[in-house]
C-alpha cells in the first residue's frame, strides 16, 4: 500500500474512534421537562436536580467494583449480585431482567481497581454522566474513602457499597451524605475477631499486619483495641506494601516476640503469600494465620495451596431466620446456576445494596402519564436513608443516618477454619466454627 493510503487509513481509524466515543456520550436523557404528571417533584428546589428517563428508556445504574486485577474475584462476584438483583426485580430468578416502575435497568460497569486512583477515575467517569441515577460500589474502601464518595456525592449521586468495611466511611465526622453501605462496619468485625482469638482460641498474644489501606488498617486497629481491652497483648503492629512478595524478613522479625496468632486482613495475593511464608519461619511453627473477608476468595486456595488449611477467616453471615432464609436459598441456587460457585463473600451484600436503593426509587419516582420517570436526587437520598426493616439477604436492613444499612438487631459474623469455608475451592456446606451477633450500636458504643 502506498504511503498515502496508509495515512488515509490512519486518519479514518482515528476519526472512527472519536465518533465511537462521542456517540456514547450523546445518549441523552431524552424526554426531559415536565410531562404533566400531577405531583412532579420540585426539581428546581433540589440543588442536585432530577433525573428524567423518557418512555422506554432504561434507568442507568453504575457499578464501581474491582473487576480487574488481583481483587477481581471480589468485584466480579459483587457484580453478579447486582445482576441477580435486577433479575429478581420481577419477583423471581429466571434470568430475565425485571423493571423498576416500568423501566428497564441498564448497568454501566466501571473498575475501582481496588485503589484510590481507580476510585478517582471510575468515580469521575460516572459522576460526569447525568443519566446515572446511583452507583453500586466500591469494592475496596480505599477507592471510596474521600475519593469516589466525594466525587459522586458532590453531584448528588448515591454510592452504595456492598463490601466497604472501613469504619471511617460511616463515622460521624467523615461520612459523605450520599454514601451508604450494606457491608458491616469493621468496628463489628474487629471486635468479633478479637473475641474469637481471646476467648475461643484462648490466645493472649497476637501480631497484626496491614497494608495501610483503610480496610486493612481499620480492621487491625479495631482488633487491636478490643483485643487489648479483653486483656490480650499486640506483640507487633506491622505494615506491608500489598505489592510485595517476600514477607519472610518481616515474619522473622514478628516471630521474635512470639505471637500466638498473626492477624493479617488484606487482599490476595498478600494474604496467601503471608500464610504460605509463615510455614517457612521456624519460630512461627504452629502459629495460625487469621485473615478476613478480603482474603476469603477462591484465589486464596489457589495461591496458598496446602498452607490454606488450618488458617482462620472471618466474614459476615446472613442473619438466620424468617423469610430471608427462604429467599436466600433460592438466591444461592440462582447464583450457582448462572455464575457457578461464588468467588467471594459479598454478593449477597451487593444484591441488598441494589435493592435498598431500588426500594427508595419506587417511593420517590414520579411516573408521568406519557411513561416518563422523574426522580429527584435529594428526595431519593432522603428516601434511602429512611429505609427501615427491609428484608434483604443479609438480614433485616435499616439505614441509619451515617450510612450503615444493616440489621439493627444484630450483625452475624462467622469465623471459618479452612478448608471448611463456603467459597469456591472450599466446602460449600461448611459451618462456621465460631459466630457472634453484635449490634452496631454495641460495637460503636464501647
Amino acid at each position: 500500500m502506498s504511503k498515502w493510503a496508509w495515512k488515509l487509513l490512519a486518519v479514518l481509524a482515528v476519526l472512527s474512534l472519536v465518533a465511537a466515543a462521542c456517540s456514547n456520550n450523546n445518549e441523552s436523557t431524552g424526554g426531559g421537562g415536565a410531562s404533566g404528571g400531577g405531583n412532579q417533584p420540585d426539581c428546581n428546589a433540589d440543588p442536585f436536580g432530577c433525573v428524567t428517563y423518557g418512555p422506554g428508556e432504561p434507568i442507568r445504574v453504575g457499578t464501581l467494583l474491582a473487576i480487574s486485577g488481583d481483587v477481581a474475584t471480589l468485584g466480579v462476584d459483587s457484580e453478579h449480585g447486582v445482576e441477580l438483583a435486577i433479575d429478581y426485580l420481577d419477583g423471581n430468578f429466571d434470568g430475565k431482567a425485571g423493571q423498576i416502575l416500568g423501566h428497564d435497568v441498564q448497568l454501566q460497569n466501571e473498575d475501582d481497581l481496588c485503589s484510590k486512583e481507580g476510585g478517582q477515575q471510575g468515580g469521575t467517569k460516572l459522576a460526569s454522566d447525568p443519566t446515572i441515577l446511583f452507583v453500586v460500589g466500591t469494592s475496596c474502601s480505599s477507592s471510596a474513602f474521600g475519593v469516589a464518595d466525594k466525587i459522586l456525592g458532590d453531584k448528588g449521586i448515591i454510592l452504595v457499597s456492598p463490601s466497604n468495611t472501613a469504619a471511617g466511611l460511616t463515622a460521624e465526622s467523615t461520612h459523605n451524605p450520599f454514601y451508604l453501605r450494606t457491608a458491616q462496619n469493621d468496628a463489628i468485625q474487629g471486635r468479633v475477631v478479637a473475641d474469637f482469638v481471646y476467648n475461643k482460641l484462648g490466645f493472649t498474644k497476637a501480631a497484626t499486619i496491614h497494608d495501610e489501606s483503610p480496610y486493612a488498617a481499620g480492621l487491625t486497629d479495631g482488633f487491636g483495641t478490643f483485643f487489648e481491652q479483653l486483656g490480650g497483648t499486640i506483640t507487633d503492629a506491622e505494615a506491608i506494601q500489598s505489592t510485595d512478595t517476600d514477607f519472610k524478613p518481616l515474619l522473622t522479625s514478628i516471630a521474635q516476640s512470639e505471637p500466638q496468632l498473626i492477624y493479617a486482613p488484606d487482599f490476595n495475593p498478600a494474604c496467601a503469600l503471608l500464610a504460605k511464608q509463615m510455614l517457612d519461619i521456624p519460630d512461627l511453627k504452629g502459629v495460625p494465620y487469621m485473615g478476613s473477608d478480603g482474603c476469603a476468595a477462591s484465589t486464596f486456595f489457589d495461591q496458598a495451596g496446602d498452607a490454606a488449611n488450618g488458617t482462620y477467616m472471618s466474614f459476615p453471615l446472613p442473619s438466620p431466620g424468617g423469610t430471608t432464609s427462604a429467599l436466600l436459598d433460592t438466591y444461592n441456587k440462582a447464583y450457582k446456576d448462572q455464575f457457578g460457585n461464588p468467588t467471594a463473600a459479598f454478593n449477597t451484600n451487593a444484591f441488598d445494596a441494589f435493592n435498598v436503593v431500588a426500594e427508595a426509587i419506587k417511593q420517590v419516582g414520579v411516573e408521568g402519564s406519557d411513561g416518563t420517570l422523574t426522580i429527584s436526587r435529594t428526595a431519593l437520598k432522603d428516601a434511602v436513608f429512611q429505609v427501615k426493616d427491609y428484608a434483604g439477604l443479609t438480614g433485616t436492613l435499616t439505614c441509619i443516618s451515617t450510612g450503615d444499612c444493616q440489621s439493627l438487631a444484630a450483625v452475624n459474623i462467622g469465623v471459618f477454619q479452612l478448608p471448611d469455608i463456603p467459597i469456591e475451592g472450599g466446602n460449600q456446606d461448611a459451618k462456621p466454627i465460631f459466630n457472634e451477633t453484635i449490634t452496631l450500636s454495641d460495637a460503636l458504643g464501647s
Binding site: 480487574s68 486485577g69 488481583d70 477481581a72 474475584t73 495501610e212 503492629a237 506491622e238 505494615a239 506491608i240 506494601q241 505489592t243 510485595d244 512478595t245 517476600d246 519472610k248 524478613p249 518481616l250 522473622t252 522479625s253 516471630a255 521474635q256 516476640s257 490476595n268 495475593p269 496467601a272 503469600l273 504460605k276 517457612d280 519461619i281 521456624p282 519460630d283 484465589t299 486456595f301 489457589d302 495461591q303 496458598a304 495451596g305
Partner: protein, 368 residues
C-alpha cells in the same frame, strides 16, 4: 621593597584566594558529605540500639541474612539482563521485567500439566529441568522479539527514544499477558520435596533457597565464563567497546546484539523459575517490581558491569531483608519492614553521590 611588594600582592589577592578555596570545596559537596555522614551515623546508632535491645536471636539474624542472599540472587540474575544490554547498546531495557514474567508464564502452563499428570511430584529433578528450559525459551523468545521489533530500528536514534519505547513495550507486554491469561495472580505448583529445609554447613536453610542461591551462582559463573572465554563473548566485549570499529573488524553487530538479548532472556528465564519456586505465584504484573529492583541493583553495582550487577543484587537483597530490623528497630520506628525500600533506595542515593558510576562501574556521571 620586595617585602612590601609581596605584601601588596598578598593584600590584593586575599579575597580571590578565599573564593578559590570555596569553589574548590563547594556547598553542594558539603551538603552531600553531611547527608552521607549523617545517614551513616543514624544507621550505626540504630544498629547499636537494636543490638542493645536484644530482640533478635542469633538464629533470626542468620535467617534474615539467608533470606537476603536468596532474594538478592534473584535480583542479580534479572539485573544481569539490564546491565548486559546497557553495556552493549547504552540503553535501559525497561521491558526486561516482562521478559522475566514471560518465562514464568511459559513454565507455569507446563508446570500445571506436569502437576496434573503427577510427573512433577514423581520426578522433581527432571520436571525442574524441563521448566527451566521452557522458561528460558519463553523469555528468550520475548527478549529477541523485543529487540527485533522494538529496538533494532531505533539503534541510531537519540537515547531517549529507545528508553520510551522500552517503557511502552513493558506496558504492552503486561497488558497482553493480562488479556491472554487474566488479571489475577495464580498459584504455581511446585514439587513437594522442595518443602522443608536442608542443613548446609550446620545451618538449616529452606530447600528452595538453597536451589535459588546455587542456581544463581551457577548461572553467573556460566555467564562470566561465556563472556571471558568464548568467541561470541569476545565479540560481545568488542561491540560493547565500540560498535563501529567492531563491525569494521568483521563482527556482525546485529548478531551480537541478538545474542546479548538472548542471554539476558535466558538468565531472566532461570530467575523466573527460581522466583516461582520460592513464591509459588505467577501473574501478569509480577515482573514489574522485581524488574525495578533489579534495575536498581544494576545501577547500584555499576550499570554495564557484570560483576557489579551480581554485587548490586546481593547488596539490595541483604539491605531489604536485614536493613529494616537492623537499622530501624533500635530507633523505635513503628512497622520498620514497611520501610525496606526506603532503606534500599537511600543507600542507592548515597552510593551514587559518592560514586556516580555505581560500586564497580566506571567513575563518570552518566545521564540515563
Amino acid at each position: 621593597m620586595m617585602t612590601r611588594g609581596t605584601a601588596d600582592v598578598v593584600e590584593t589577592s586575599e579575597a580571590p584566594a578565599e573564593l578559590g578555596r570555596l569553589s574548590r570545596f563547594p556547598v553542594r559537596r558539603v551538603v552531600q558529605w553531611v547527608v552521607g555522614v549523617g545517614v551513616l551515623l543514624l544507621a550505626a546508632y540504630g544498629t547499636y540500639e537494636t543490638i542493645q535491645l536484644g530482640r533478635f536471636s542469633g538464629a533470626a539474624w542468620r535467617d534474615l541474612l539467608v533470606f537476603g542472599v536468596a532474594q538478592g540472587a534473584i535480583y542479580a540474575l534479572i539485573a544481569l539482563g539490564y546491565t548486559m544490554v546497557y553495556g552493549i547498546l547504552n540503553m535501559i531495557n525497561f521491558a526486561h521485567g516482562e521478559v522475566f514474567m514471560a518465562g514464568a508464564f511459559a513454565s507455569y502452563f507446563v508446570a500445571r500439566t506436569l502437576q496434573n499428570s503427577g510427573f512433577l511430584q514423581s520426578n522433581p529433578v527432571v520436571s525442574i529441568a524441563i521448566l527451566m528450559v521452557v522458561a528460558m525459551a519463553g523469555s528468550v523468545g520475548v527478549a529477541v522479539l523485543l529487540e527485533r521489533v522494538a529496538y533494532r530500528r531505533l539503534r541510531k536514534a537519540p537515547r531517549l527514544v529507545p528508553l520510551i519505547t522500552a517503557i511502552g513495550a513493558s506496558l504492552f507486554l503486561q497488558n497482553t499477558a493480562k488479556g491472554f491469561f487474566g488479571p489475577q495472580t495464580r498459584g504455581y505448583p511446585t514439587p513437594d520435596v522442595l518443602g522443608g529445609t536442608w542443613t548446609v554447613l550446620g545451618i538449616p536453610i529452606l530447600r528452595t533457597q538453597v536451589i535459588v542461591i546455587v542456581g544463581a551462582i551457577l548461572a553467573m559463573v556460566g555467564l562470566i565464563m561465556f563472556v571471558a572465554r568464548t568467541r561470541t563473548g569476545k565479540s560481545m566485549r568488542a561491540v560493547a567497546e565500540d560498535k563501529e570499529i567492531a563491525s569494521l573488524m568483521g563482527i556482525d553487530v546485529d548478531r551480537v546484539v541478538v545474542t546479548t538479548f538472548a542471554i539476558g532472556g535466558m538468565l531472566a528465564g532461570i530467575a523466573a523459575v527460581l522466583f516461582t519456586m520460592v513464591f509459588q505465584v505467577v501473574g501478569p504484573f509480577m515482573g514489574f517490581i522485581p524488574g525495578i529492583k533489579a534495575f536498581t541493583a544494576a545501577v547500584l553495582g555499576g550499570i554495564g558491569s557484570i560483576a557489579g550487577a551480581a554485587l548490586g543484587g546481593l547488596i539490595l537483597g541483604l539491605l531489604e531483608a536485614v536493613g529494616p530490623s537492623l537499622f530501624l528497630t533500635g530507633l523505635g520506628v513503628k512497622g520498620p519492614n514497611q520501610l525496606k525500600d526506603v532503606i534500599a533506595f537511600s543507600i542507592l542515593v548515597l552510593v551514587l553521590i559518592f560514586r556516580p558510576g555505581g560500586l564497580l562501574g566506571s567513575d563518570e556521571a552518566e545521564k540515563v
